[in-house]
Amino acid sequence: MKLIIEGLKKNFEKKEVLKDINFEFEKGKIYGLLGRNGAGKTTLFNCLNEDLPVDAGKFFLKDKELRKIESDDIGYVLSTPNVPEFLTGREFLKFFIEINKNRIKNEKTIDEYFDFMKIDKDDRDKLLKDYSHGMKNKMQMLVNIIANPSILLFDEPLTSLDIVVQEEMKQMLKSIKKNHIIIFSTHIIELALDLCDEIVILNKGVLEKIDKNDLNNTKFKDKIIEALKEE
C-alpha cells in the first residue's frame, strides 16, 4: 500500500508553505519528516488530514487500485495530547472501540490494549483530566492505533515525553509499522535517525528524501543538516 501525493500546494496568502509536493510513502516504513521551525510540517499533516483545504494537488491511497482517502484511513496524533477529560481511560477506550467496531480487526479486551500501551492498572479507571502529559499522549496514540488506520501521522509526539516513555513509544511504533504507513514529524534529528527507516525533509515548501547510502550516522546527520540549511 502507498500514500501518493501529487502536486500538493498550500499558500497562506502570498506565502507558499507547500510549493509542489510529490511523494510516495510506503507501508511498512516509518518516515521521519524533518524540517525547521515553520517549515510547514504541521500544515502538510493538516492538509492530509483535511483539516485545511489544499490549494492544488491531490493525494490518494494505492493498494490494488487507486482510491480516495477516507476518514477511517488516517490517524493523526498531535504533539499536545487532547483527550476528553470527563471520561476515565477505560471509558474512553470503550467508547472508541464501540464506534469503531466495524473497523477493528482482532479486537482485544480493554485491559489488553492498556497492557500494550503500558498503562498501569491503577490509572485505567482514573479520569483523563488526572492523567499526566505522557499518559494522555499514550491514550491519544492508542485510540488512533486501535481503529487500525492505514496512515498514521505523528506530529512531534515524543518531544515532551520522558526518556522511559519515549523508549516505550519507539518500540511500540516499530512493532506496528508493518501494517501502516507511518509519518513521524520531529526536529530531533537523533530520534529520527534512531526510529525511522527513511528521512524526508521539508524545506522551502518542497519534500525531499535524503538517501543514507553507505554513510554512517554522523555523516548522514551532517548531510541532513546541510540539506536543511540550503537556501
Binding site: 487532547n82 464506534i99 485510540v143
Partner: protein, 526 residues
Amino acid sequence: MFKTFITSFKLKNTYRVNSIIYSLKGLPVINKILPNSLYKNKFLKIFGNIISILFEIIGTFLWKGLYVWLVLGSMTFAYKTNPVNTFLHLFVFATLIGGILNTYMLNPTKDKYYAIVLMNMDANTFAVTNYFYSMLKLIIGLIPFTIIFGLMLNVPLLICISMPFFVAMIKIIVIGIFSISDFKKNRVVKNENLPTKKVWILLASLLLLGFGLPYLGVVINQIIYIVLFLISIVFVIIALKEIITFKDYKKMYKLLLTNENVYAVQNANSTKMIKENIAKKIEYNGDITSNKTGFAYFHELFVKRHSKLLTKAIKKQTIIIIGIFIILFIVIFLNPTLKEELNSLPLIYLPYFVFIMYMLNRGTTITQAMFMNCDHSMLTYRIYRTPDVILGIFKERLKTLILLNLVPALAIAIGLVLLLYFTGGTSNYLNYFIIFISIIAMSIFFSVHYLVMYYLLQPYNINTEIKSSTYTVVQWITYFVAYYLIGKKIPTLYFGILMIAFCIIYSLISLFIAYKYAPKTFKIRQ
C-alpha cells in the same frame, strides 16, 4: 527626559494602533478583505493612528465630562442642601476616593510593563514624565467641565478653575507622601486595582461621608474647600519633591508589574481560564456510570459528570419562577382588585416572554461546556468528525438541551395558564392552549437555535479562542430581536399562533441544515 517620554509615547501608540488593526481583522466581511500583512499597510496605520488620537481625546475629555455631569452635577440635585456647597462636598469626597483608587502611577498597565520590564527603559524618567503627562491630561480634561457645570450651579469661576488642580494635587499627595514612603519603609507597593481591607473600609467611609452626609443636611462650604485647597498646596510641594527625587521606580515597578497584576483582567476573561474553570466542574465518583453504548454512552457520561453545571442554574430558575407565581397568586388572593391588571399579562404581554425565554435558555453555557470539556479534544480525532458520529451525538445533545430548558419553561407555561384562570380567565379558551404551547415552543426554539448555531458555526480554535465573528454577530442578533419584543403589546392569540408556527418552521429548517452541513462545518477552527 523628553526623549524617554516621546519614546514611551510612541511605544504606547504603536501597540494601540496594532490593537485597533487586530480588532478590524476580527470583524466579519472586513477580515476577508484585509491581507495578513496588514500591520505594515500604510493606509491602515494612518487609520489606526486617527482612531488612536480619537481614543486619546475621548480618554481626556469624554469620561471626565460624564464624571462631572453624572457623579457630581446630577447628584447635586438629589439633595435638599445648597447646590453650590453640595457640588463642592461631593467633589471633595469623590476626589479623595479617586485619589486612592485612580492614582495612574500604581495602575499596573501594559504600557508600563512593556516599557519598563520588557524594553528596559529608564524607569525613573519614564515614571516621572508619564505621571506628569497624565496629571496634565487630567487637568486639561476636567477644566472645561468643572467650569461649565460649576457655573451652571453658580459656583464662583475661580473655584471652578481650581477644582481640576485640586484633583491632581490629591493624587500627587497620595503617591508622593503615602505610596512612595510606604515603599521606602516597607518595600511594599499596593496595586490600586486590588485595595486591601483597610483601604476598602476607608473608601466606604469616604463614600458614606460624601454621599450620605448631604442627606442629613451636612455639607462643606466654600471656605472649607478653599482651606482644603490651600493645605493641599503645602503638601503637594512635599509630595512633588518626593516624586521627583525618588530613584527606585524600577524596583517599585518590578513589584507592581507582575504578570498576575498586568494581565489580571485579561486572564480572568481568557478562554484558557474559562476552560480551566469548566474542567474543574467535572464531577467524578465511581458510581457515575452508564449502561448505554456508543454515542448515547458517551453523551450520558458527559451529562452525568457535568450534572451540577447543567442543572444547578435550571433548578434555581425553576424555583424562582414558581416562587414568583406563588407570590402573584397570594397577591391576587389578598387584593382581588389587581386581578384585572394581571389578567392582561398572559393575554397581551406574550412577546415579553420571548426575551424571558431567551434569558433563561442555557444554550450558550451548555454548548460552551460541550466544547471546552469534550469537543475541543474529540474534534482532533478524525473518526469523531465522521457524519455518523457527529449526527449521532448531535441528536443526543439536542434531546438533553431541549429537556433541560423545558423545566423552567414548563413552570412558566403552567404558571401563566393558572394566572390567566385565577385572574378571571378568558372568553376564548384557545388562549390557554396557545399560551402553554407558545412558551414551550419558544424554549425548544432557543435550544435548537443555540445547538444548531454551535454545530454550523463552531467558533473555537485549538486554543479555545472564539474565532468566528459570524457566531458573535448571530448571538447579538438573537439578543436584539428578543430585546426588541419587550413591551410589545400584541394579543396572545395572534402572537402565540405566529410564534408557534415560526418556532416549528425555524426548528425544522435549521435541523435540516444542521443535518446536511454539520458534518462539514463542525470542526476546530484553524
